[in-house]
Point group: C4
Chain length 220, copies 4
């Protein structure tokens, strides 16, 4: 189990370094063209996530996301007692990743985002983004587990663009992105709404799984 | 069969949320650079479609497209009596997807597109786009069924760019895109021509399949 | 063999429609930003080629390129007597593809390119591009034949950017691109140099194959 | 072993032609938009690397990188006596690749870069980039060796964007890029810091491998 925690920690650190670092690079080079910065940010995140899931999936499942770990616990693929450790490793890994990005780009390590992402529509976008992410993971892992890295990476590239919130879809990532006042940051005032929407989506998916499981056992 | 309808409904909803949502995001951020908006739109659609076909393909075949369902019925891979249900689920799913995108981007839910896409050349483009899509699906599903998600997603990315109409290639999607006055919309006046070209392509492919099937049985 | 010729014809037509069509679309939308037009052109060509090789590979080998067919004949994977038919089908398919693109974009069907691509460096680029393409096909088809579509598509995306000539690497494609006065065209005055470089590369690779084959048999 | 050296030489040559050539093309066409030039550079490098690893992996392992060869020697997958030959082939191949790119773009063959890439943060970025690259190679090759080309290519695309140094992560490549005064060059004054960071990362990974190997054997 210690190897799993280490994998979740390292993977979340690299993931956040990728998200935050590519956001900084994109914003610096794009000269005000936000579409180009987001394109680089989305492609880098998708490509990095793909490499990370391929590398660490066999060790820990490569969740890097407490919402995913929660659903995996409901599904019986992660022991419940491992859930807190996963969530803690993911959150601290994500923080380390943010600071690594700041250090590489010679920025102050400690920052607080001022980018407000307010309103019901963005919370709805996070709900949709998380439902989609969990649906893709559950759907693909059941029938074609080897394609999970491909499917998750592709989904995230799409979700950066089709959700109005650019698809955080991950409570640990949302917490960590509060601590960067760069392209990918989120103001602490906006984070609770995002996290609530993400957890609500995870609970809905978990409830749906429970329901369909009880129906199936009812048939037997 | 109810699970199949639900999968077609959900998949079409996510597909349209992706097409319309990424179009809105692209247009908002690209600052008038239509090439950049279309690039984001194409990559997001291809990536999203890939994740959706991988997720839902094992349940319903992941058509999300009445033209595809028609050809699959001709080929004997979908029972004819399921065809109306598939088409209805696809169309209403697509509508829900458009409204989801509008809601996420805080736009009025009900819209009608004013973007005219007129003329014989665009109808020819839709004919070519649909022939190509169906050809790719039939060709790849025969010899390498596991690569269908990859091939369809790649084809759609290409077809966004090489067809003058940006490749709708899907009657349910065309209907739904009438109801968004954003980047990916189509004015109701132009939709019938697009749908006619798409159905004509589907009928040509279906006739070709019948012909080659009768030839083959003739040989036996 | 007739099915193979038909597959080479149809595939080359779709390939050229993709190359020329996405070039037109890219140039129209990019507003003078050639990098963006070439990016769209490269990604569309790579994605389209991937879908085409997956679809038609099992029928004809999906060469769409006389230089590839020549090397395959040397390698014994294509009967020598089929080589002329392949080359003719590829060339006429490519022409049909160019005209299809023109028709979809409502341009005059008959055009002659005025885009000069002169000089020894561009011929050297075509030589390098073709050597690389043939090397990738031979290397990957020997050890991982299922990955040929992926490898060829990826190579072409790279070669659009790293060769100064944007990597035609295909005599049939070069002939057809003389007939479009759009983004992807080549003036008839420059085409012979390109084709000579491509054929020289094919002959070098063929000679290398012969040499190593005779060495191997010499060892036995 | 001679075939392996030849494969490392040829692969490194094509890799550097891709990195330097696509950088020149990107800078020429992007009209001052560095984000667009880097996007083309990153995608071309990732796509080219993917094709090269697929083509040459079965012959030499497709390292193209002395840091990778060192780690493979520690892991016992490359004989120690082959390491100098690998490093020499990689370095001279990389030089040939730079000159090939210059020749294709009609530039003077001999150049020295004036692009300073100074400072501790960029060295830290190279350390992170190399750790990540080696981690991805080790992680993926253990459990899913067939996915190594995909994972490495995706990682490099991401690392171009998320590391402040655009991720050289390769001592042979760093040496060769001193000799091009174009987009992808590095001034000779900055190269030693980059190479030191890369080698330090390789030594850390090698030490980690040794440590875990001795622990494992200790358990037995």
């Amino acid at each position: 189990m210690r190897r799993s925690y280490a994998a979740e920690f390292a993977g979340s650190a690299f993931l956040l370094a990728t998200v935050v670092g590519s956001g900084i690079m994109g914003e610096r080079l794009a000269g005000g063209n936000t579409a180009l910065a987001l394109l680089a940010n989305a492609l880098a995140t998708g490509a990095g996530l793909y490499a990370l899931i391929l590398s660490l999936g066999p060790i820990s499942g490569a969740h890097f996301n407490p919402a995913v770990s929660l659903v995996m616990a409901v599904r019986g693929e992660l022991p419940w007692r491992a859930l807190p450790g996963y969530a803690i490793a993911q959150t601290f890994g994500a923080l380390l990743g943010v600071w690594t990005a700041h250090f590489m780009f010679a920025l102050p390590l400690w920052q607080l985002s001022h980018k407000l992402r307010p309103g019901v529509s963005l919370m709805a976008a996070e709900f949709v983004a998380t439902i989609g992410l969990l649906g893709v993971i559950l759907g693909v892992s059941r029938h074609r587990p080897h394609a999970v890295p491909d499917a998750v990476a592709a989904y995230i590239v799409a979700a950066y663009w089709f959700t109005a919130s650019t698809s955080f879809a991950n409570p640990a990532v949302t917490l960590a992105r509060m601590l960067t006042d760069t392209f990918s940051g989120i103001a602490p005032a906006s984070a609770p709404g995002f996290i609530a929407a993400q957890l609500l989506a995870a609970l809905c998916v978990a409830a749906g799984l429970r329901l369909s499981a009880s129906r199936c056992s009812g048939r037997i």
